[in-house]
Symmetry: C2
Subunit: 276 residues, 2 copies
């Protein structure tokens, strides 16, 4: 990641002593002083969207590098909404969103990165992972499907895999959308109260909610072990959706600005071309 | 296709005696009387975008059917711009755009529909083909890479393949963006004149332009043979980009309205769920 980070509530994970509990999911500074004081937010979001759309077109024209955005969160953390808000307005022909659910029986016949690798973005594209290879050091660990040694090995595998991608010209940005346990309760309740949202509720989410503390620990460890300069993790305070969206947009646009994509040079003389 | 077609300049190909030359690429009726008289266009496009975004979310929630939009055109016909205008504003997580170029050596080891089949949209998704299996009865035919018998067999193969998709719940809409030869000359020249557009110019396009009449004939034949009620072809007059975009939006939204996607019913009682 470029050294000039935009000013957002997001926390860039740099150290092995990083503590998730130190990040306040309600944080909105420096965007605003109070959650209802956000008069400057809408125009800035619009400006970032316009710029993202321009940069995506240049990335596509250049056709040499790509951007991968990895999104992880607890249930109701806002992954779907964040993707929609970040990328709505960008030409969908240059975007690939991959959603990873429980692996299929075919996928389980391979190593855990096999299905992930198949979905990495093509040159010129922005790829988004809605959940990712990190599930293989989160849910699997919380439920004791892998032991500590395997988990450590997977951190290594993940770091090597992301290094391969960055060496091939893919900039990797990873976002953990950080909500509080209370906020999750409210969002789950909203899905139950509104009949139009009932289909988004999965009774199984309540079982996972019981493992809240174990998940926070598993996230903290994964973020500590798998954040690097080339493939950084950002913890995004995400109780306030508008602050979450603005922080992500700022970071993504800054990363693309640093990439500074250029349209390719042509190998013909435009003046010599005659159209008949 | 539902019998109630929206009123647009588009021509729905219904008959084996369809003539491409009868469609005027400049046609803008009933949208406007003159190309510069389009005061009602912007609000209508906005309304269609809003509705498309809602319908896409319902299609995604329903998770049972999908929509496939096939785009074909002569070079500079506006496929990229049409896709961008149609789908910008739709949640990219529910959209898959596949761009088909010259087949790779691996793809050539299979039948011509193999690589196409792999890119058909998942349940709940809108898929877009930027070029498609129709190239295999267009460029191949114009350049004599297949004979008349093979071409006829491929029309059959295509019809059977699209029938398989529609039987599986995929609504198939096919658009030929119809520009005039003069319009193509102007668009190619614009790519030469504007340094920022130079990279979009391919000197090879001039060679293909020399086969203009052969391509028009190949398109006419493909459209005659491969347009059905379930997988119709629409010829979109496309000299005026705004009319092209509006026509496509009207047809796509009407098709989704006819599908009438519904969120799935839940199999639990929301009142019985307790969040602790």
């Amino acid at each position: 990641m470029n050294s000039k980070l935009p000013k957002t509530p997001a926390v860039y994970v740099k150290s092995k002593s990083f503590r998730l509990a130190d990040v306040d999911p309600d944080d909105i500074t420096p965007f605003a002083n109070r959650p209802d004081d956000k008069s400057d937010v809408a125009p800035r979001l619009l400006e970032l969207r316009r710029r993202l759309s321009e940069l995506q077109e240049l990335l596509y024209a250049e056709h040499r590098r790509s951007l991968l955005i990895v999104l992880q969160a607890m249930d109701t953390g806002g992954k779907d909404g964040a993707i929609e808000n970040l990328l709505t307005g960008v030409n969908p022909a240059g975007v690939q969103v991959a959603t990873f659910k429980a692996p299929t029986s075919e996928e389980l016949k391979h190593d855990f990165l096999w299905r992930i690798h198949a979905q990495t973005p093509k040159r010129g594209h922005i790829g988004v992972f809605n959940r990712s290879h990190y599930e293989d050091v989160l849910i699997t660990r919380v439920h004791g499907l892998i032991d500590a040694k395997t988990c450590q090995e997977r951190y290594d595998d993940i770091n090597h895999f992301e290094q391969l991608l960055t060496r091939n010209g893919t900039v990797v940005l990873k976002f953990f959308l950080h909500i509080s346990k209370d906020e999750q309760a409210q969002r789950l309740q909203a899905r139950l109260d509104d009949p139009a949202k009932n289909w988004k509720f999965d009774p199984n989410d309540l079982k996972e909610r019981a493992y809240w503390d174990d998940y926070q620990q598993a996230y903290e460890d994964a973020l500590r072990h798998c954040s690097s300069k080339d493939a950084p993790w950002f913890v995004i305070p995400a109780n306030h959706k508008w602050a979450r969206d603005l922080a992500m947009s700022e970071i993504v646009v800054a990363a693309l600005e640093a990439m500074n994509p250029q349209p390719p040079k042509v190998d013909f003389d435009p003046k010599q071309q005659v159209i008949v």
